[in-house]
């Protein structure tokens, strides 16, 4: 497909993605809308903006760039961008979490074209991304691997085992994206388990750190470009985001915990969809 680089057009796509995320999680009656809403502008450039080399008609193409959603509870956003990119029909999105749907609560790579890893147990995606990046090097292929992790997820020790390993192997074909939305299941990350100083920590682990506003598409494009051109070390894009971005009832919720694993009610969804027109 033709890459879309017009920012105004992509901002409309972002709104549309948010509407779909609200619709499908509310229809499913369960799911994680707020963590899906924070990552919207981070995946649009990858799949629609030409950042990733991929072919929805050939999802197992050996030379494709890979995207792993390590924070697997963001599945509604992943499914939505995959559908918009053409991996499967948009109608399928409305079967989310149904017993006969391949769109399970968390991504299952055996059932959904375009899903590169089965995730949902936090902390494991970056390690798998390293495996893909090492395989690329062994096979002399120039594909790139992207792994999105969460801020709460960064409390898992395995993330830092992987951080060390990617640095050891100087994997400049690997880019991590931290969806830093500041909240986890029961409250603010800073209170549950402080992860700061994020920039200094990743830098100390040997990574090139790019810090951006994760809702500003221009900054997101620029960050991916900077990661691509950074040689000799892996890059991490620390994307400051808002959990529940674009939906007032979630953004105004002090702890955000009410909407971590709970969808909007049909009435809340109706209001949210109007806001997102």
């Amino acid at each position: 497909m033709e890459a879309i680089t017009d920012i105004a057009a992509l901002e409309q796509v972002a709104k549309r993605m948010r509407r779909i995320i609200i619709e499908i999680t509310t229809k499913a009656g369960s799911g994680h809308p707020s963590t899906s809403l924070s990552m919207v502008e981070l995946v649009i450039p990858l799949y629609l903006g030409g950042v990733m080399r991929h072919d929805p008609k050939n999802p197992r193409w050996p030379d494709r760039d890979r995207f792993i959603l390590s924070k697997g509870h963001g599945a509604p956003a992943l499914y939505t961008i995959l559908a918009l990119a053409g991996y499967f029909p948009e109608e399928l999105l409305y079967t989310l979490r149904h017993i006969d749907s391949p769109l399970e609560g968390h991504p299952n790579m055996l059932r959904v074209p375009g899903v590169e890893a089965s995730t949902g147990s936090l902390g494991q995606g970056l390690s798998q991304g390293i495996g893909h990046a090492l395989a690329a090097r062994l096979d002399g292929r120039d594909y790139r691997t992207y792994v999105m992790i969460g801020d709460g997820e960064s409390e898992e020790g395995q993330v830092w085992e992987a951080a060390m390993a990617a640095s050891k192997y100087a994997l400049d074909n690997l880019t991590a994206i931290l969806d830093y939305n500041k909240y986890q299941q029961t409250g603010p990350v800073a209170r549950v388990m402080p992860i700061e100083p994020v920039r200094e920590r990743w830098s100390a682990f040997g990574w090139h750190v790019i810090e951006i506003d994760g809702h500003d598409l221009r900054q997101v494009f620029a960050a991916y470009e900077e990661a691509k051109t950074t040689k000799g070390k892996p890059s991490i894009i620390v994307a400051h985001t808002v959990k529940g971005k674009g939906v007032r009832v979630i953004e105004q919720d002090e702890k955000r915990s009410r909407y971590h694993g709970v969808p909007l009610t049909p009435e809340e969804a109706r209001v949210a969809l109007e806001e997102l027109q």
């Binding site: 902390g123 390690s127 495996g131 060390m164």
Partner: protein, 322 residues
């Protein structure tokens, strides 16, 4: 090692040694094989492969969770990824990664756990894999393999690397008695009948196969003929061989260098109970950790010798109804 001495079994290489040699041989033929290590390659014997193929070998340091994830990623991009460490560290520390990154997505990752059982000796219980078979059997899509001697380890390593999908292989630290001829035939999922007998069947795996053969000799002195099955594949079990054993011999003793919960005995009991219930007895670690000591002293202390298997056989014979 005392096991098998009474019947003249010669001590051969450790199963980890034979595995390491076979891995190197297969690695020479198949450039797609890569190995992931947790800085124990000189213990697991992936060092032979590492020396010859440094570009296909990744020492990820002491970080088992990450190791398994990386192996899964390599497999997802088309590699046959073998990950090896101590059985206890790999299965216990990285169990969730084995579940999520290997078993659930059915990735072509071969998991090899060395230093299994209590026969590792003096390093003691923190280093002993005594729950690995139970854990590996609790991973859907996995096959679980326990070689008895060096010839079994070589043959089963070749077979493991020649078919796709997740597999776990258990290897041991000390040299163990040789029970097979070089070049003996193996098929994953098919038990090997090492001794014919009509009075009972001893189903064993790993080092306990040699102990079972020795026990069969002891029982023969008493006029009892024991069949011995090497159940080198614990999953999927050779249920046909078990059903035949139950029908033809009417009693079964299971023997393994593993906790009684969830290991070979548990799997065999479930299969036998469903098909042809017969009296059974179990030789293994009975809900306990071991301690430091020589391998022989530990096997004696914790009840994993031919004499213990023979005693279990006498007990099961006393319960036979026909």
């Amino acid at each position: 090692m005392n096991i098998g001495k009474r019947i003249g079994l010669k001590i051969g290489k450790a199963t980890r040694d034979a595995f390491g040699e076979a891995l190197l041989e297969v690695g020479r033929q198949d450039p797609n094989i890569v190995v992931v290590d947790g800085d124990v390659h000189n213990s697991t014997r992936t060092e032979y492969f590492a020396r010859e193929f440094p570009d296909r070998f990744f020492n990820l340091g002491i970080a088992e969770s990450n190791m398994v994830g990386v192996a899964a990623g390599l497999a997802a991009s088309g590699k046959t990824a073998l990950v090896a460490s101590f059985a206890c560290f790999l299965l216990c520390n990285a169990f969730d990664q084995l579940r999520m990154c290997v078993a659930f997505p059915n990735q072509n990752v071969k998991v090899v756990g060395s230093h299994a059982g209590i026969s590792i000796g003096e390093d003691g219980p923190s280093q002993m894999g005594i729950e690995d078979i139970a854990l590996a059997c609790a991973l859907p899509n996995f096959k679980v393999i326990v070689p008895a001697d060096e010839h079994a380890a070589r043959a089963l390593t070749r077979l493991m690397l020649s078919e796709p999908g997740p597999m776990y292989m258990r290897t041991g630290r000390p040299g163990v008695p040789i029970v097979y001829e070089p070049g003996a035939a193996f098929a994953i999922g098919k038990a090997n009948k090492l001794r014919e007998g009509k009075d009972l069947t001893i189903v064993a795996c790993g080092l306990m196969v040699a102990a079972a053969l020795e026990a069969a000799y002891l029982l023969q002195q008493e006029g009892v003929e024991a069949r011995v099955l090497d159940m080198h594949t614990v999953k999927p079990l050779d249920v046909a061989a078990l059903e035949e054993a139950a029908v033809e011999t009417g009693a079964i003793v299971c023997a393994e260098e593993h906790l009684l919960s969830g290991g070979l005995g548990s799997e065999v009991a479930r299969a036998v109970a469903q098909r042809r219930p017969v009296p059974m007895e179990f030789v293994g670690l009975n809900d306990t950790y071991a301690c430091s000591g020589t391998p022989d002293a530990l096997l004696e202390r914790y009840g994993l010798t031919a004499d213990h298997i023979a005693a279990a056989a006498r007990k099961v014979l006393s319960r036979k109804t026909c």
